[in-house]
């Protein structure tokens, strides 16, 4: 445990993936179990949404799936990777925010640009 119990000056910094406080085994297992349950629940919900249920307005399925996916990613981040918003995790969370921003820009930007291009221009195969 020598490295996990940082010298006092580093109490405000956690290694990515380490839990912020030294948990007992029981607390640790509980955390992973809660994560597993939540993730399994969200997975089942995604399958259910995609199964053609009449409870969801069909054009809304895209958004529902995206929302469930983002929610489940959040569960994994918090319960499995232990990336939290606590003060010891500021650097980890900031890096994540930057990464998410770039992922969002690349995907959304590409879709937006290519959609407009396809609307305005003849498809390459017809040239």
């Amino acid at each position: 445990m020598s490295e996990r119990n940082e010298p006092a000056e580093h109490e405000k910094d956690a290694a990515s993936g380490d839990e912020d406080v030294e948990p007992g085994i029981a607390a640790g297992v509980r955390g992973y179990l809660i994560g597993l349950m939540l993730a399994a629940g969200l997975t089942v919900a995604s399958f259910w949404v995609a199964s053609g249920t009449s409870l969801i307005y069909p054009p809304g399925v895209v958004m529902a799936l995206a929302a469930l996916a983002i929610g489940q990613m959040g569960v994994h981040l918090a319960f499995f990777l232990h990336i939290t918003t606590g003060p010891d995790n500021a650097n980890n969370a900031l890096a994540l925010a930057f990464g998410v921003l770039i992922v969002g820009i690349v995907i959304a930007g590409s879709l937006w640009i290519m959609h407009h291009l396809n609307m305005n221009m003849m498809p390459a195969s017809d040239l």
Binding site: V29, S46, A50, H76, F80, S110, S125
Partner: protein
């Protein structure tokens, strides 16, 4: 046996490449003979090739860049000569050859001169300025360097064996597709840049981690020198942008090698998606280049004006604003592609906005000089020339950001003039400023002044004479990359431009002369004090050249401009601070890993280019093996005893002359002491490793984002083939998803068991994780096999190409994870819970959980979205 390789690959019939390669071969041979005769091999191997010292790595990066500058400049001279001759005439270069030259020129200058030089400066300077002993991952740093060298070797091999790409420095499809470029040129280009891209990504990760986690005590973020800030921004951009390049090139490689249809003109491929993705990397790339140069100028201007930098905080904000905005302007490289007015309008406005923080910086530099006592040493001259030149280049850039103007100027020489104006005037002048500024620190003697001044004036005037005519030519309608032309009014300007290139040639000649003269006169040019320019930042507080450990005792920083404060109080009190208490210093041991991995990278790259499959496998196995053997080593550090540290530091103290007379009597100084600002110094190894790996995972997410973007764009391009609804099956998907989710859980259990030091439970947890991962892979492979057998392979349509690439990439990650897991389990078994193995376990857990996160994105937004009615 040797794939496509045969004697016909060597261009015996072409005198120019043959002569060039003969000369290079002779030069290399002469160097090697000289080293052997002088018996320098063991010195070279011990002190340089296997060195993981950031200063040595930095110097080697800069050396590579300078050599490649000459190669790239010869290409430039050849192009200028061709265009000077080729009015109504074929000139002396065949079109095929001319196309290779402009492609090689761009590739080399951007990747292997500008980028390599900037990374070299970062390597040398950043740890010194932060007051730390090395970068976060020293051996990885050496791997980065040698991968870059491997890529350089491959690019230069193409001169002799085969050919280089002929499709420009970004190899746009469909021209770069197999159908139109069947030769090996594009493959040389792609594999070389993939290899160097990995090196650059690792550099980015290394420097983000170093800057955020390794600073000296009291070096809070807002006390860091601006060069560290711009290096941080540049490294963040490397981490975020290079995965996009890797993804894009991987798609083109899949098209060329395995018949995929990402960018082809058939089966639903869309070559415009390549433009979109490559520029999503390409625009951040220009800021990766220019930001460190901005940092150099900030340091130089502040030092040679004898004033603190004006607007330090606004400089930080401007830097970080550029870091984000750099990702929001990429479409301005293809306004004319036809995305329409609203898309063009948005990106045009963003492009104008990004000029604002740059403008802020220029004013900050001007105000730093204002009222200062300016010393016109060569670094400062480069900085002054930069401000003027870069402002012109920036303004033509804002002009090009206006979409209607861009429709007129697109692909013309006006554009060529613009980007040379910012890249030469900004990045290259920055590199030269940094080179002359930090040379005394690196080698312990200054560069010769007279030759330096001559080089500066030749470069500056040569630049204007070579490139201002290109603006005029662009406005006269001359497009770029013309092998010959028949417009008489262009010719005089092209002759002027050629003359400008010759003046630059003289400048380069002076730079070589400067190096020779300085080495000869090194005794007279000796920098004894370690502070030749009256510097303000920490690198000047240590000796020139710095001892291996940089600082005998990590400095404690109490205010911004760390060294200036220490120096002033020493002058004030007319004595040095009391000698500190020396303790033993732990330094990373040298390692040949970088060199060996790069050797295997060259082997695999060459084999891939020539389709020599057995050699590909041999190279990959070798690279993996050298990583494992590195991970297996027992001692990674060596200890310098305290008495040795004290002895070396006494040299530094002897060199310091605190009573050195500065003008007038020492002024009363309000010794500014803001305390340590709450920052206590470098983090522990576990935190550093975890953070570095986390940054790597973010880059991996961005890699997947590139593939996912391609999938999302191409998902409907089924070319009459199967659609998602007919192809995907709910049952196997549910099985795969449960396997991965459960393996995430068991991996968590293994982490808990290893925290509690339970060997059997840990191994059990890892074993279950591995078996579940294997189960996932088996289901996925059988699913893929069924698709391939039913004729729904990646060659069927663009949709299937994107699907196989995205999901297959995830599968490859799982496979790599299993390989890693196996070696780690063996290591854990053999060596027990050692701290470095535990750190690796932390990284593995992060990796495995991240794979599950990516799978969440895939199973919902690829599979379930595809089968939902």
């Amino acid at each position: 046996m040797l794939g496509k390789l045969s004697w016909s690959a060597i261009p015996f019939d072409q005198p120019i490449p043959m002569t060039a390669s003969l000369l290079v071969a002779l030069a290399v041979l002469a160097t090697l003979t000289w080293i052997t005769l002088k018996g320098h091999w063991s010195y070279l191997w011990d002190e340089w090739i296997t060195s993981v010292d950031h200063k040595r790595v930095g110097v080697m990066y800069c050396g590579l860049a300078l050599v490649m500058l000459i190669r790239g400049f010869i290409d430039a001279l050849m192009m200028r000569a061709q265009q000077a001759l080729a009015f109504d005439a074929p000139g002396y270069l065949a079109a095929e050859h001319f196309n290779q030259i402009f492609s090689a020129h761009g590739t080399i200058m951007i990747f292997f001169v500008a980028m390599t030089f900037m990374i070299g400066l970062m390597n040398f300077v950043v740890p010194l300025q932060l007051g730390t002993r090395d970068v976060a991952f020293p051996t990885l740093n050496s791997v980065s360097l040698w991968l870059n060298a491997a890529a350089i070797l491959l690019v230069n091999m193409s001169l002799v064996v085969g050919e280089f790409g002929k499709a420009g420095w970004l190899s746009f499809p469909p021209l770069s597709e197999l159908k139109y470029s069947p030769g090996v040129g594009i493959d040389y280009y792609l594999w070389a840049l993939q290899i160097s891209g990995i090196g650059t990504l690792l550099t980015g990760i290394n420097f983000v981690t170093t800057i955020l986690k390794m600073r000296a005590p009291g070096m809070t973020l807002t006390r860091m020198p601006i060069f560290c800030w711009t290096s941080l921004a540049s490294s963040l951009l490397m981490v975020a942008a290079f995965p996009i390049l890797t993804a894009t090139f991987a798609m083109l490689l899949l098209d060329r090698y395995l018949g995929f249809h990402f960018f082809t003109d058939s089966a639903g491929g869309n070559s415009m998606m390549y433009m979109n993705l490559i520029w999503a990397w390409g625009h951040p790339e220009v800021y990766i280049l220019i930001l460190p140069a901005f940092g150099v100028f900030s340091e130089v201007i502040s030092t040679f004006s004898g004033k603190p930098l004006f607007g330090y905080r606004s400089m930080i904000i401007a830097t970080m604003a550029i870091c984000i905005l750099a990702f929001m302007v990429w479409l301005h490289h293809f306004f004319t592609m036809g995305a329409g007015a609203d898309v063009n309008g948005f990106f045009g406005i963003m492009s104008m906005i990004i000029a604002v923080p740059t403008g802020v910086k220029i004013f900050n530099w001007l105000f730093t000089m204002w009222g200062g006592r300016i010393r016109f040493e060569p670094p400062m001259l480069w900085a002054l020339s930069f401000i003027v030149t870069f402002a012109i280049g920036g303004m033509t850039g804002v002009l090009l950001a206006v979409p209607p103007a861009d429709f007129v100027l697109h692909n013309s020489l006006f554009l060529v003039a613009h980007f040379h104006n910012v890249i030469i005037g900004g990045v290259l002048f920055g590199a030269f400023a940094g080179y002359s500024y930090w040379f005394p620190k690196a080698f312990g003697f200054r560069l010769d002044l007279r030759t330096g001044l001559a080089a500066f004036w030749c470069w500056t005037t040569g630049f204007y004479i070579a490139f201002l005519p290109l603006y005029i030519l662009g406005l006269q309608g001359m497009t770029r990359r013309m092998q010959h032309y028949d417009v008489a009014q262009w010719r005089p300007w092209l002759l002027v431009a050629a003359a400008g290139a010759l003046i630059i040639l003289v400048g380069i000649g002076f730079q070589i002369a400067q190096l020779v003269v300085s080495i000869r006169n090194r005794k007279a040019l000796r920098d004894v004090s370690g502070d030749p320019w009256d510097g303000r930042t920490l690198e000047w507080s240590t000796l020139s050249p710095p001892p291996k450990f940089n600082f005998a005792v990590l400095p404690t920083i109490i205010a911004a401009e760390a060294y200036w404060g220490i120096k002033q109080s020493a002058i004030e009190q007319r004595r040095l601070p009391d000698p500190p208490k020396y303790t033993a210093v732990e330094m990373p041991r040298n390692s040949p890993t970088g060199f060996v991995v790069a050797f295997f990278a060259v082997l695999s790259g060459f084999a891939l280019i020539w389709h020599i499959w057995w050699m590909v496998i041999a190279g990959l196995v070798g690279a993996f093996g050298s990583f494992v053997s590195f991970a297996w080593r027992d001692r990674s550090e060596r200890i310098l005893p305290a008495c040795e540290v004290a002895r070396l530091d006494s040299d530094r103290r002897a060199a310091r002359r605190p009573d050195r007379a500065r003008e007038g009597a020492p002024k009363a100084l309000d010794a500014k002491d803001d305390g340590d600002g709450g920052y206590k110094g470098p983090a522990s190894k576990r935190i550093v490793t975890g953070y570095g790996f986390w940054i790597f995972l973010l880059s991996d997410f961005i890699l997947f984002a590139g593939f996912y973007a391609a999938y999302a764009v191409l998902a409907h391009s089924t070319a009459g083939g199967p659609t998602p609804a007919t192809l995907f099956h709910r049952n196997s998907l549910a099985l795969e998803t449960s396997f991965l989710l459960l393996s995430s859980f068991s991996c968590g259990m293994a982490s808990l068991a290893s925290n509690a030091r339970q060997m059997r439970l840990t191994q059990l947890g890892y074993a279950i994780t591995g078996l579940l991962g294997l189960g996932f892979l088996i289901v996925e492979v059988s699913e893929f096999t069924a698709m391939l057998q039913s004729g729904s392979g990646p060659g069927r349509s663009a949709f299937l190409s994107a699907f196989f690439a995205l999901v297959g990439l995830h599968g490859v990650h799982v496979a790599i994870g299993l390989l890693w897991l196996t070696t780690m389990m063996a290591q854990l078994w053999a060596k027990g819970f050692r701290a470095d193995i535990l750190r690796r376990g932390l990284c593995f857990a992060l990796f495995w959980h991240a794979l599950d996160i990516i799978w969440v994105g895939i199973f919902t937004n690829v599979y379930l979205l595809g089968i939902s009615p």
